[in-house]
């Protein structure tokens, strides 16, 4: 049984661009913006980077295939760059490559960079594209909101929650995130919104309205990782280490009736979360996890994820949400930076942006967003696909001695 990588890898530096409709920059320039901040934060020469991982979700629609675009944009000196993609979990996927390279001893210092530029597609939301030759014959070409909205119907049926109660709970999720994003200069959307606005917004995919859906935007984020020993040797004193990193992919189990999936939760998240807690030595997540950044592509996703991360009891997440448990001043703040809701979702970058906020919070560098009680462990949850078939990535970072 593998022991995991707890405390084997430290974050040396991170960078994150301003997310939004970056009409001014290509994906290459966005990568440079994030990379330069990370290099400055790491205070290390680029020639020390041994290996790199590039995560992009829709490369055909922006940067193009392979790792070469990152190598060219960042002028990496004879570095092997691996291009990774795992749907919307691509951000954590690139982090995984860099972290495992260091944990294995194959690299001293490794780079993870994620970028997406979706605002050249000409319309909002994720671009429509093929999902493979068989899917194109028998699969439903639904929008992302439609794919995830189905959770709501199943959640209501499984836990006997009224349409009105669930609608209010998911609206609270978005109101809370907007209040947080208003304090974040790197977020795309920075205006607070109220319950009525959310409840009465135009319907996108029943029951998700306009404000239940994150937008698609441009952005990049970057992490430079190394061993804690090298970090200390380079002069770092407060060290943030990776406590756990787990990724689980659906194998079709949810898609068959006999398996028992009721459509109301993410099977992969539950498995990944439990493994991450085991790897990090977390036995009571509700008490031990200080903050979470979860995949709030849609408000309903965030709500059920609270249960899937075992922070709420099954069927009770909606009540915890309405009671403010996950608000910025609550027990376990969720999306204290504004989340996907305020940043938008540049696919390759989002997973790294989540780790970036946890990293800043742990080091006390989050400014007006800083959690009042000093955090010790930050969890990020990064999900790709759709409720019935997906990949869920859970990462936990914390102070080295936590």
């Amino acid at each position: 049984m593998a022991r995991g990588i707890k405390d084997k890898v430290a974050i040396l530096g991170m960078g994150c661009t301003k997310f939004g409709e970056r009409w001014d920059k290509d994906a290459d320039s966005l990568m440079v913006e994030a990379f330069e901040e990370a290099v400055a934060d790491a205070n290390v020469d680029v020639s020390r980077i041994d290996a790199a991982w590039l995560g992009v979700g829709f490369d055909a629609m922006n940067i193009g295939p392979s790792g070469i675009p990152a190598s060219i944009a960042l002028r990496l000196p004879n570095v092997g760059v691996t291009k990774v993609e795992n749907y919307c979990a691509s951000g954590t996927e690139s982090f995984r490559g860099a972290v495992y390279a260091v944990a294995s001893g194959a690299a001293d210092i490794a780079l993870a960079i994620g970028v997406e530029k979706l605002k050249d597609t000409g319309y909002g939301g994720l671009p429509v594209r093929t999902r493979g030759t068989t899917f194109d014959m028998v699969g439903v070409v639904g929008s992302a909101p439609g794919n995830f909205a189905q959770l709501a119907s199943a959640y209501r049926a499984a836990h006997d929650v009224s349409k009105e109660d669930l609608k209010r709970a998911i609206a609270h999720v978005s109101v809370k995130s907007h209040a947080n994003g208003a304090k974040n200069p790197k977020a795309h959307l920075r205006k607070a919104i109220d319950m009525d606005t959310v409840l009465n917004a135009p319907m996108i995919a029943e029951p998700l309205g306009l404000f239940d859906c994150c937008g698609v935007s441009d952005g990049a984020a970057c992490a430079i990782v190394t061993t804690p020993e090298i970090a200390r040797a380079l002069g770092k004193t407060d060290i943030v280490t990776v406590k756990a990193l787990q990724i689980v992919s659906s194998n079709g189990w949810e898609l068959q009736q006999g398996g028992g999936w009721n459509g109301a939760y993410f099977h992969t998240t539950r498995v990944a979360a439990q493994r991450a807690y085991d790897e990090a030595g977390v036995t009571d997540p509700r008490r031990q996890i200080s903050l979470t950044e979860v995949h709030d592509c849609f408000s309903i996703t965030e709500l059920v994820t609270m249960e899937d991360l075992f922070l709420s009891k099954e069927g009770q997440g909606w009540k915890d949400v309405l009671n403010g448990v996950f608000d910025a001043d609550g027990e376990i703040p969720c999306q204290i930076d504004g989340g996907l809701k305020c940043f938008g979702h540049p696919i390759g970058a989002s997973g790294l942006r989540m780790i970036y906020e946890n990293y800043l919070q742990l080091l006390g560098r989050a400014g007006p967003r800083q959690r009042s009680k000093p955090p010790t462990l930050g969890l990020s949850h990064n999900l790709g696909g759709m409720p019935s078939q997906n990949v869920s990535a859970v990462a936990i970072v914390g102070l080295a001695d936590a």
Binding site: T121, G122, Y123, G125, V128, R129, T130, T133, T134, D136, M137, V138, G139, V140, V141, G142, S143, P145, G146, A149, Q150, L151, A152, S153, A154, R156, A157, P202, M203, I204, A205, E206, L208, N251, G252, W253, L255, Q256, Q257, G258, G259, N262, G263, P387, S388
Partner: protein, 484 residues
């Protein structure tokens, strides 16, 4: 086994949506006030995802209620609105019905009596002891906006299983006349029929040609007009059917309702559709005469048998007509038939190219909705796969074909999606669980006016999944519709 030849079973399909003629007339009254006379009642219109082939599949499924599919020896599809000029349309129906490969099939087209003519040939073949043949007739005609035909047409399909054995209607013979009477015509490059003056059609076509053939036919078949119990005349012009019955000396109450008020004139399908209504109501021993008209005349004679009472319940025309949803959105229908171009937006630019290789490799999956059932664990899945999806067992290569199309299912999750491109927004879809196992995330159809909720019972219907407008190819698949 009586050893008679004739009709073994019947079925029908009329699309659920009924466009109110008053709504069409209201749009045209300023331009063509004379249409007022045709503006009553409603006509059946297929949804954007229906065509002649999908309707034929539904009529076939209805006709084959209770019939072992492997016993069908051949099938034919008659229509003047087949999607393909060169790709066997009845072959697509065969795949959707999951019939064995060892069957014969043909398309029959060219005139409004393609339905009766194909029925006639099938009955002749049945006399020779051939395996049952499924006669299908289906039509979805376009008509010029502000024409009479736009109001009087209807979309529908009918199916008759023909052969020897315990027939519900014995075939007693037929009489045909062929004469190039061009009341109307349509060529490959025309969207709409071009027709001549209706007064001439009535006099020379209906009264002389049809009337003459009907009289000669009854005489040739040795049937006295008074002995005709049911007369099917699929001509919907005002007073035409009545006039022909009277002219032939057949009692007025024998005349089958032309269904103009509830369905409309379904072209090639119409005589067979009305024959189905006659069979639904006939008593044993009744003589049924069916007339087909199109550059000539077919007259077919049947006699109902006691086996009618033993035939298992099916939707038929009665059930199809009753299953209705009133609609007054005339523009939506024009858009669906390609007669009105709407701004579809960039999402509709998605390339729907269909590789011929993958469709051929997976034709049972795509057309037949055939999944897999693990012979070791009994787990049902869609689609079939090498390694079973069951989590207790990782068997490879243990799945047998398992057809899902005829199984009922229940909604487990759903949404109504306003964002994804749909010709009839919002797009409803969700996950359904089949009776006995199997699960599918699938588009929903026919949900207008229905409360879609978790737990609702659904049935599968064969529909157009997407149109490759660039390459003129239709992608078919199955959708879930509320089970009535």
């Amino acid at each position: 086994m009586s050893g008679e030849t004739g009709i073994l079973a019947f079925g029908a399909y009329v699309p659920r949506t009924r466009l109110q003629r008053s709504a069409v007339y209201a749009a045209h009254a300023w331009f063509a006030p004379g249409l007022k006379g045709q503006s009553k009642g409603e006509r059946a219109i297929g949804d954007w995802d229906e065509d002649t082939i999908t309707m034929a599949v539904e009529a076939a499924r209805d006709a084959l209620t209770g019939v072992e599919r492997a016993t069908v020896g051949s099938l034919s599809l008659a229509s003047t609105t087949l999607p393909y000029i060169d790709r066997l349309n009845s072959g697509i129906v065969k795949e959707a019905l999951n019939l064995p490969d060892a069957v014969a099939a043909l398309d029959v087209t060219g005139s409004q009596r393609a339905g009766t003519s194909s029925l006639l040939q099938a009955l002749k073949g049945a006399k020779g002891g051939a395996a049952p043949h499924l006669v299908l007739a289906s039509e979805m005609r376009k008509a010029s906006p502000a024409s009479e035909a736009e109001l009087t047409n209807g979309d529908a399909a009918a199916g008759l299983l023909v052969g020897s054995g315990e027939v519900v209607a014995k075939f007693l013979g037929a009489h045909s006349v062929t004469a190039d009477f061009v009341d109307h015509y349509r060529t490959e490059d025309m969207d709409f029929d071009y027709g001549w003056e209706s007064r001439w059609i009535r006099d020379e076509g209906y009264t002389k040609l049809a009337g003459g053939a009907l009289k000669a036919g009854l005489a040739a078949l040795g049937v006295a007009p008074e002995a005709v119990d049911r007369l099917v005349i699929p001509l919907v012009g005002r007073g035409v059917a009545d006039g022909l019955a009277k002219q032939a000396g057949v009692k007025p109450e024998a005349l089958a309702d032309t269904l103009l008020a509830t369905v409309g004139d379904s072209g090639v399908a119409h005589p067979l559709l009305l024959l189905v209504t006659a069979l639904e109501q006939a008593k044993p021993g009744e003589k049924i005469v069916v007339l087909g008209f199109g550059q000539g005349v077919d007259v077919l004679l049947f006699e109902a048998t006691p086996a009618l009472a033993k035939l298992s319940a099916r939707r038929g025309v009665k059930g199809s007509v009753a299953r209705r949803h009133a609609d007054d959105n005339y523009l939506r229908w024009l858009f669906h038939r390609g007669l009105l171009a709407l701004e579809k937006g960039m999402r509709a630019e998605f390339d729907q190219k269909q590789p011929a290789t993958t469709l051929w490799r997976h034709r049972k999956t795509v057309f037949g909705l055939v999944g897999g059932r693990c012979t070791k664990t009994g787990v049902v899945q869609f689609p079939k796969s090498d390694i079973t999806v069951g989590s207790n067992d990782r068997s490879s290569g243990t799945q047998e074909d398992y057809p899902l199309a005829e199984l009922k299912s229940k909604i487990i999750t759903f949404t109504a999606d306003n964002l994804t491109y749909s010709p009839n927004p919002p797009a409803y879809y969700g996950m359904v669980d089949f009776e006995g196992g199997g699960r599918l995330t699938v588009e929903f159809a026919d949900v207008a006016g229905v409360e879609v909720e978790v737990g609702r019972e659904m049935r599968m219907v064969f529909r157009i999944k997407a149109l490759d407008e660039q390459r003129h190819f239709t992608k078919y698949f199955w959708k879930a519709a509320p089970a009535d």
